[in-house]
Every structure is written in structure tokens, then in C-alpha cells.
């Protein structure tokens, strides 16, 4: 056995020993149970189940992703914010590292010798962006519009970092594969379900991380905070990401006129309906010819995304007080975005897979062809270990929705009954602008009642009625003030 092969085998053995649980963990199996519980309305049990699968002190990004979502289902917005801020802290660490090491695609030896599961889970790009969006929704539901604005601004900055990092990574992968003469097109993987990543819905997306919903939400929040120049950019980007959707186009077209049309006793409501769950990841084993001659083929696993249509019941309308029916426009498909993200990640995954096949092939052959009996036995064991540990990275934020639909309407301030399918809920609508979020999984609907309070800016919630004599009220003071004052006079 040459010194080089010994080192390689030692590295493989060490990596195998240290990577332990993460290599064998099936994230998809774990989350199937959690999603099943949520589908039946058992959020508390789903939370317990999630905790029982993550007993260590050092929680990973996925734990925080999933837990924050479950807490939202439970209307615990503050807890959800705290949990997701822990996730945000980890994403922030990734951002700081990524700016420095972008392009260092092969630095994680574990991923090359074993599988991608040994890599620290940094989250898919769309998950990082969606984290900021979901945090913004939590803040809005909690009445913290300024915090929501901060998260929205963070979303733009995060998107810029991701774009920069991915551009550098793509360059590095192209350079590496060119130098090693490796083809990284997923269409050439014999046996890979190419159609899962190649539909027009996926290829027409600008990228795998920017969503029309995130940008429309940005427009809505900036508009509510009286920042029309920023709102215009939000609506415009939403239209560019999902063209020809009337609801998105109306957002921009009505930006100038809406403030003049707004009535003091009405609320401009953005209704967000999140449906289903994000697709799951599984492995498909494909024999890869080893790039060194005479070493045959080695089976290497690649990730495949599976949509979950049985859980995705996307409502087309929402009824208000059993009369006013508003259309819901599907503006973002996280199902399609996750597939686009995987499609864009495939060259890197293929490159690492082919290099892994080469290392495995070389180390196996060195041991099998040794004259030493123990080494041959080790070669057989390594062969078995290779098959057992070879599995694609199945980790993905499963409790994210599959689709996001929105409706926007003005209704009188006060309590209203909303109907999605057969599910009804009475919600209190208050202020000049309000947000409602409903999550539909199977036939289960989780409604989020917004909290209204002092943290809302003056132009979101009307200020308390002052005691004014009507004859000296300037025109700029709201009609609500006049009404209140008149009532007081009549009591006298």
C-alpha cells in the first residue's frame, strides 16, 4: 500500500468515525412524522416530536427553521421570532464566512469522501431568504411594523450576498470541472429523473432564491410605512419575478392612488395563504465511472425532490362575511423554487460525487489488491461501508409551504368572518393596514390573528381621538377625530 493510499484510507476512516450520526440520519423520515401531526392539527405533539429528534445541546439550523414554523401555527409569534432569530444568527455566520470563502467548493473533505450530509447544514438559498420573510410576517402579526421593515431590508441584503456567493461558486465549479475534465450536467446522469428539474415552471424562474411574495410583501410594508419610493421597487420586482399576474400589477399601478382613496374607517388587508409543505428530498443511487482508468464504476447517490401534492390544497378564493369573495393569486411556488435551487446546485453536487467516486474507487482497489490479508479484509469492509454510508443530503426545511397565494382588499375596520374552503374563522381587523396569514395543510387551516398595539406606527393605526373643539380642527386631522369630538359634545 503506497503512502498516498494509506493516508487516503486513514482520512476516510477518520471521517467515517467522526461524522457518525449525520451520515446515517434520515431527515425525511423524521419530518414525515412531524408533518403528519401538523396535518392532523396536533401542533403540540409535533413540537414534542421535533424536540425528541433533536436532543443534543448544539441545535442545527433546520431545528430552528422547523420549530419557528410550528410555533407560528400555534400563534406564538414572539416565541417563533426568538427561534427564528437563532436560525438567523446561524445564517448570518454563513454570510460572513461565505463572503470570504466563496468558491472554496471542495474544502469540506468529509463531503468529498463520504456524502454531502457531512457538510454543516447552511440552508438552501431560498430558505435563507424565506427565513427573513417569515420573520417579517411574525413581526407584522405581532404589530411590530418597524421590526418587519428591518427584516425586509435584510432580505434585500441577503439576496445580494447570495447572488455574489453563487456567482463565484459557479465560476469555481466551472474552472474545477474544466481542469479535471468532468462533465457536471445533471441531464447526463444516467437514471436521474431529469424531468423533476426541467419543467417550464422551474426553468422560467429567474433564480432559486428570489420570490415574488417576499418583494410584494416588501412593497406592502413600505407603502404602509409611507415610503412609496421603496414600495414601488418592491412591487416592480414582484412583477419582474412573476409577470402577468394582475394582483401584482395592481400593487404598483395603485400605489399613487390608494392613499387618496383610503377611507378612515377601512383597512387595507393583505391576506396571505400558505398551502401544503415544501418537497422532500430522497436519494437516487447512480453508478459513476471513476475518472481514473481501470477502476470501474462506483455507486454515488444524488438528491431528488418529491412534491407532496396530497397535502397541498391551494384555495382559489377567500370569502369575507359569507358575501364578499376575493380571488387568491398564487404568486410564489416554493416547490418550483426548491427544484430550481437544486438544479442550480447540481453541478457542485455532481463534481463532489465524481471526486468521491474516484477516492472511494482508489482506496478500495488499493486495499483489495494488497498482499496483506487484513488489508484485503479492510477493503471488503470499506466496500460495504461505502454502500451503507452513500446517501444524498436529504435535509431541507420541510414545514415551509409549497405555495403562497395572496389577496388584497379594503374592508371596514372590525370583526369579520373569513372562509377558506369549508374552514371559517372570525378575525379582528384594525388600523389602516393589516396582514392576515392562514396556513392550509391537507384540510387543516391554521389562522393567525394579528395583534394590534402601541408598536404600530401612527399611519398604520389611527392615533387616539383627542378632545378637539370642531370649529378649530384643520382639514388634515382625520374624520375619526371629528366624529369622536362631535359625540362628546352631544353628550354634554
Amino acid at each position: 500500500m503506497s503512502i498516498h493510499t494509506r493516508k487516503l484510507t486513514l482520512a476516510l476512516a477518520i471521517t467515517l468515525a467522526f461524522s457518525g450520526c449525520s451520515v446515517m440520519r434520515s431527515y425525511d423520515d423524521e419530518l414525515k412524522q412531524t408533518v403528519d401531526l401538523v396535518s392532523q392539527g396536533e401542533v403540540s405533539q409535533a413540537l414534542q416530536q421535533l424536540d425528541s429528534n433533536n436532543t443534543g445541546n448544539d441545535k442545527d439550523l433546520l431545528y430552528y427553521f422547523e420549530k419557528g414554523t410550528l410555533q407560528r401555527f400555534d400563534n406564538k409569534y414572539k416565541d417563533s421570532v426568538i427561534t427564528w432569530l437563532s436560525a438567523d444568527h446561524l445564517v448570518n455566520e454563513w454570510e460572513n464566512e461565505a463572503k470570504i470563502r466563496a468558491g472554496a467548493i471542495l474544502e469540506n473533505i468529509g463531503a468529498v469522501t463520504l456524502n454531502d450530509k457531512t457538510r454543516r447544514y447552511d440552508g438552501h438559498d431560498y430558505e435563507k431568504v424565506m427565513l427573513s420573510t417569515q420573520l417579517a410576517l411574525d413581526h407584522l402579526l405581532n404589530g411590530d411594523w418597524d421590526y418587519a421593515r428591518t427584516e425586509i431590508k435584510k432580505t434585500h441584503e441577503r439576496e445580494a450576498i447570495i447572488a455574489d456567493v453563487r456567482a463565484k461558486e459557479t465560476d469555481a465549479i466551472e474552472k474545477e470541472s474544466r481542469e479535471k475534465g468532468i462533465g457536471t450536467t445533471f441531464k447526463n446522469l444516467n437514471g436521474y429523473p431529469v424531468e423533476t428539474l426541467n419543467s417550464p415552471e422551474i426553468t422560467s424562474l429567474k433564480n432559486g432564491y428570489q420570490s415574488a411574495f417576499s418583494h410584494y410583501l416588501a412593497g406592502f410594508v413600505y407603502e404602509a410605512l409611507d415610503e412609496p419610493s421603496l414600495a414601488a421597487a418592491g412591487y416592480r420586482q414582484a412583477i419582474e419575478l412573476r409577470p402577468n399576474i394582475k394582483m401584482l400589477e395592481d400593487g404598483l399601478a395603485g400605489l399613487d392612488s390608494r392613499p387618496h382613496q383610503h377611507k378612515p374607517n377601512e383597512t387595507d388587508v393583505l391576506m396571505v395563504v400558505e398551502s401544503g409543505v415544501a418537497p422532500s428530498l430522497s436519494s437516487v443511487m447512480i453508478p459513476i465511472p471513476v475518472i481514473y482508468k481501470g477502476l470501474g464504476v462506483i455507486p454515488i447517490s444524488f438528491p431528488v425532490l418529491h412534491s407532496d401534492p396530497t397535502r397541498t390544497n391551494t384555495p382559489l378564493t377567500v370569502a369575507i362575511d359569507n358575501a364578499n369573495t376575493q380571488p387568491l393569486s398564487m404568486v410564489t411556488s416554493l416547490d418550483a423554487m426548491s427544484k430550481r435551487a437544486l438544479k442550480d446546485d447540481m453541478p457542485g453536487i455532481i463534481l463532489r460525487g465524481i471526486l468521491r467516486a474516484a477516492i472511494k474507487g482508489a482506496s478500495q482497489q488499493a486495499l483489495m489488491h494488497s498482499n496483506n490479508g487484513y488489508a484485503m479484509l479492510a477493503g471488503v469492509a470499506l466496500n460495504v461501508a461505502n454502500v451503507i454510508t452513500e446517501s444524498a443530503d436529504e435535509r431541507t426545511w420541510r414545514t415551509l409551504p409549497s405555495t403562497i397565494s395572496v389577496a388584497r382588499f379594503s374592508i371596514p375596520t372590525g370583526k369579520h368572518e373569513f372562509t377558506l374552503g369549508l374552514n371559517k374563522k372570525t378575525l379582528d381587523i384594525n388600523g389602516a393596514h393589516a396582514l392576515i396569514v392562514a396556513r392550509v395543510i391537507n384540510n387543516q387551516v391554521y389562522w393567525s390573528q394579528p395583534i394590534y398595539g402601541a408598536k404600530m406606527p401612527a399611519n398604520i393605526i389611527a392615533p387616539p381621538a383627542p378632545q378637539i373643539e370642531p370649529e378649530i380642527i384643520p382639514k388634515s386631522v382625520s374624520k375619526k377625530v371629528r366624529k369622536s369630538s362631535t359625540k362628546k359634545r352631544s353628550k354634554k
Partner: protein, 200 residues
Amino acid sequence: MRTQFLLSIAVITLLSGCANQTPTLSSGNVEYGDHKAVETLTNEFGSTDLQSIAQAMTNSLLQSPAVGAKQRPLVTIAEVKNRTSEYIDTKSITDTIRTKVMKSGLVRFAVDTSGMQTQTDEIVRQSQSGMYKKSMSKKIGQMEGADFRIEGTITSIVKQTDDVKDVYYKFSLQLIDNESGVMEWADEKEIRKTSTKSMF
């Protein structure tokens, strides 16, 4: 005796000098930079663009005959519409222009629409809450109407090939007489930024 006195003064001065020095806490990774340094990190709208637009517009506006025609005219800032796809905070640009123009002393500014609610709330609070002396509180109906308003637009044209991205910005600003509706001044500032592949 005099030497001793001078010596003690010198020692006290030295010691007090030491005591007044602000300690520096640093990990060595963070540095303050020049806020006026030219920023070309990306070809998106940045601090240098904001500063150059604000400077150009201020210089041009202050040379306008409309500003000099009346003793310290009252001006308000209306909206600068963002017609780009970028999240450009145009209020930040107009805030900088307003600050620079104010410093010239030639113009006064009235509260703009975004600050109107706060202005109204404050007057109502002073005059109606019962918390203030009547003689000292500000009265409703005493606000001054602006002689002029400033409004404008920012537009962009983005062209991109595989290797090059070209972004052209045009910032237009106008000064309009609120009573007559006459546009008294207008100017534009154009910016072109081109970057190669590694930057986008």
C-alpha cells in the same frame, strides 16, 4: 518656588491628559472609513451616487433665480418617485439635499407630507391635551404654506450581457411654484456604472 509651581502645573496637566484619553476597544477587524470615499463594491445604487446627486442638485438649485427672487422662500419636499427596480430610498437623497440647502441659509423648509401626521399630532397635543399653559402652547391654524415644492423621479436602464452589466441612472428634480404651478427650476444628474462579470 515659581519653578516648583510650574512643575506641579505641568505634572497635573500631563496626568489629566492621560485621564482624559478615551480607551480604544478593538478586535482589530473593524475600521472606520472615510464616509466620502468612492464606493464601487457593486454597480447598484450606493453612497457615492447619493452624495454626487445631492451635491450636484444642491449647487444647481441654489443658483436658481427662483431661490434668490424672494427673501428666504419656504419650500417643501414632495415625493421623488422611484421608477427603478432597485430599493432606492429617495427620501434619503432629498433629506441630504434639504440639509445642504438649509445650511446655505437661503431657503426655509416647511414640514413635508411624510411629517404632517407628526406635526398635526404635536399641535393637537399642545393645544388640546390640557397639559400645557394656554399662553405657551402652539395654536392650530398657524402653519405656513410653502411657496415652492420640490419633486422628481429617478429612473434607470439596465443592460446586461454574459460578461458586462451596464446601469444608467437619471435623477431629475424640479422646483414648482405652489400658487402659480409654474416650474421655476429643473435639473438632471446622470450616472453610468459598468461592471464586469466578477462583480455581478
